[in-house]
């Protein structure tokens, strides 16, 4: 590993940490800028009760002190404080609870999307300009133009309401099938298009022609030479794909009533559970930033031709 590369990796890690710090800071101050505070609202409560509540959650202290405490608790104890609406529960416990389901959902969707996307893209590139290629491209274009909540609703109508093949409730047996399909279709289509164009690019390279001239078999060229190299741009998509799956899961979990973190997040927004909104935003944002970092570094490691700035 060259020193240039080490410097680059260090720089990217520092940038990621800085980004996470910005997310925490922005989230904290923005949430505290909401007029009225978390306890003003539905029911009128007495001054004393409000003061007691604020003292309990530390809201009576100066804003900057609250901020440093919040930051310190996250960094040292990974503690996002107590939930305001689900009394007696810690935000981190609720997040971890939701993550069990959501991580399963997201990981299955991501793996399926990557595998099917790469296969479809490679097939489309190899069979370029045939009917098969055109069908694949039309379908993926349609999927890319469809917001995930529409995709989810259509799948719900077709497979749960009309055909009654799969349950509409994600908590039931086999209930995760439809949410997984909803989540994977967009990334799958994106990866298909990405793989196809990069595969076409690679297939036009000189070394492919050389291999062909040497008499290497067609499949050996595709698997040994072309596919490996055309997957490099796909790696860069892994970060954005995770970001998509995180935001997509909010909608999907809402539609199929999956008890995951996305649903928790949306309900915390409607409930005005401020600590929960802050905690979930910071947690998910850090996840995305770290995943972006990993996919970026992987990209540079895999392809030695890429220069380090």
């Amino acid at each position: 590993m060259s020193s240039k590369m080490l410097y680059y990796i260090l720089k990217r890690i520092l940038l990621a940490i800085l980004t996470i710090w910005i997310v925490i800071t922005v989230t904290f101050f923005v949430m505290h800028a909401v007029p009225g505070g978390p306890f003003v609202g539905e029911k009128a409560i007495s001054k004393e009760a409000q003061a007691a509540l604020e003292a309990k959650y530390g809201l009576d202290k100066p804003l900057f002190e609250q901020y440093t405490t919040y930051l310190r608790d996250i960094v040292t104890k990974f503690d996002f404080g107590p939930s305001l609406k689900q009394r007696g529960r810690q935000v981190i416990d609720i997040i971890m609870d939701g993550m069990k389901t959501s991580a399963k959902l997201g990981l299955i969707a991501a793996c399926l999307a990557a595998v099917t996307g790469i296969v479809l893209g490679a097939v489309a590139a190899i069979r370029r300009n045939t009917l098969l290629d055109k069908i694949i491209m039309v379908i993926t274009t349609a999927f890319v133009s469809m917001p995930s909540f529409i995709m989810g609703s259509f799948l719900l109508i077709i497979f749960s309401v009309s055909l009654k093949w799969l349950p509409a409730n994600g908590a039931m047996q086999g209930g995760l099938v439809l949410p997984v399909i909803t989540l994977m279709l967009y990334p799958m289509s994106y990866i298909t298009r990405l793989t196809r164009s990069s595969m076409l690019d690679v297939l036009g390279q000189d070394y492919i022609r050389t291999a062909r001239a040497k008499g290497v078999s067609r499949w050996s060229i595709i698997f040994g030479h072309a596919l490996k190299n055309s997957l490099i741009p796909v790696i860069t998509y892994f970060g954005p794909m995770l970001a998509f799956i995180v935001t997509g899961s909010m909608v999907v979990e809402q539609i199929f009533a999956v008890p995951g973190i996305g649903r928790q997040f949306v309900s915390s927004i409607t409930n005005r559970d401020y600590t929960m909104i802050m905690g979930t935003t910071i947690f998910l944002a850090s996840l995305i930033v770290i995943m972006n970092l990993v996919s970026d570094l992987l990209y540079k490691v895999v392809d030695p031709r890429i220069e380090f700035e």
């Binding site: 469809m146 529409i150 259509f154 109508i157 970001a243 998910l284």
Partner: protein, 352 residues
């Protein structure tokens, strides 16, 4: 000018100053009318059948979303069953397409003509067709204006960074990097939660569309300009080394003049294309936020909130979900295809 008979003479050849003959005039006259860059691009665009069809769809949808509410007998927020001074007539709620409420049936029986409810009514007895039309209008408006905001901010900052370079560039690009690495959707949700409750738009012209949409514009303006700025900076970086920029600088043109008159017009194709592709992106985000309940304020509909409302009655009123869903897909798909067509037509270099 050069006198072939006397190569070393300093005298000019008088023949060179004679008026051109007809044959010479013919030689320099144009074979066909000259074509500008814009005309060429339009011609290529018109040849692309998919892009032309998409453009027609976009125009038809836009025009009907603007014009239809002008003469439609129902309005998007009028609950047809509610009459002042009388108990609410629930027969108007949840009408199937082309059916009528009680009082309307009486009027029809009396020989009066009643305008049909093409898509029926919703659970509050509001005409669903006009709600879809209004929703389309809101979604298109959000997409369009958000892209304009992104374009203006991105163009200004990107061209400043690209043209002036040096420290200005470094600072701007570091900020861009920072915003770029933020997870945009989460920040958008967070900001629209807060801004939607902080902004007070009562009594202004924005009151009707609500604080959520305004906060959406603000968020777009704050976050989405970065990719536009990056793109334009890259273009300007390569363009500013051209000779015509040097010549403009030599004749004393100011920086802003050179950016406005020389650099931006030369990257106009990139600007148009990325703006066109930004619109469906904004529509996506708007419908996503509306679906989560963070979009337009009720009773104003948007395609996303219509779909979200329809999810409750999905088993009995499936068409109420299908209609806005199909409209969103149609708009986004045709905008995407049109944007692709624009790219092919106006930027042959990009078309790899």
């Amino acid at each position: 000018m050069f006198n072939a008979n006397k190569p070393f003479s300093m005298h000019l050849n008088p023949d060179a100053f004679r008026p051109a003959t007809e044959a010479e005039k013919e030689y320099i006259s144009q074979m066909r009318p000259s074509s500008t860059f814009f005309k060429d691009g339009c011609k290529r665009l018109m040849k692309n059948k998919v892009a032309t069809a998409s453009l027609i769809i976009i125009i038809v949808v836009t025009l009907s979303s603007i014009l239809l509410p002008l003469f439609w007998p129902y309005s998007y927020d009028a609950m047809l069953g509610v009459r002042p001074g009388k108990p609410a007539d629930s027969s108007f709620n949840n009408l199937q397409p082309f059916t009528y409420g009680k009082t309307e049936l009486k009027r029809i029986a009396a020989g009066e003509k009643v305008f049909p409810h093409i898509f029926g009514t919703d659970s509050h007895g509001r005409d669903y067709f006009i709600r879809v039309v209004y929703g389309t209008r809101i979604s298109l408006a959000v997409g369009f204006f958000a892209s304009i905001i992104v374009l203006i901010i991105g163009m200004t900052i990107g061209s400043i960074a690209g043209y002036f370079g040096g420290k200005v560039d470094i600072i701007i690009m570091r900020i861009v990097d920072m915003i770029y690495s933020l997870p945009d959707m989460l920040v958008i949700i967070l900001l629209s939660v807060v801004l939607g409750r902080t902004l007070n738009v009562e009594g202004t012209i924005f009151a009707k569309i609500g604080s959520n949409v305004i906060s959406m514009f603000i968020v777009f303006g704050l976050l989405y300009w970065v990719s536009m700025a990056r793109l334009i900076r890259g273009q300007i970086l390569s363009l500013r080394e051209q000779e015509y920029v040097l010549s403009a600088q030599a004749t004393g043109a100011s920086g802003s003049w050179i950016i406005k008159k020389h650099l931006l017009p030369n990257c106009i194709s990139v600007i148009i294309i990325s703006t066109a592709l930004q619109i469906p992106n904004a529509i996506f985000t708007e419908s996503f936020l509306s679906f989560l309940g963070l979009g337009v304020n009720a009773p104003m509909p948007s395609l996303g909130s219509l779909a979200s409302d329809a999810l409750n009655g999905i088993t009995s009123y499936t068409y109420r979900l299908v209609i806005p869903a199909v409209v969103i897909c149609l708009i986004v798909l045709s905008l995407n295809l049109f944007g692709d067509g624009l790219r092919d037509a106006f930027d042959p270099k990009l078309n790899a």
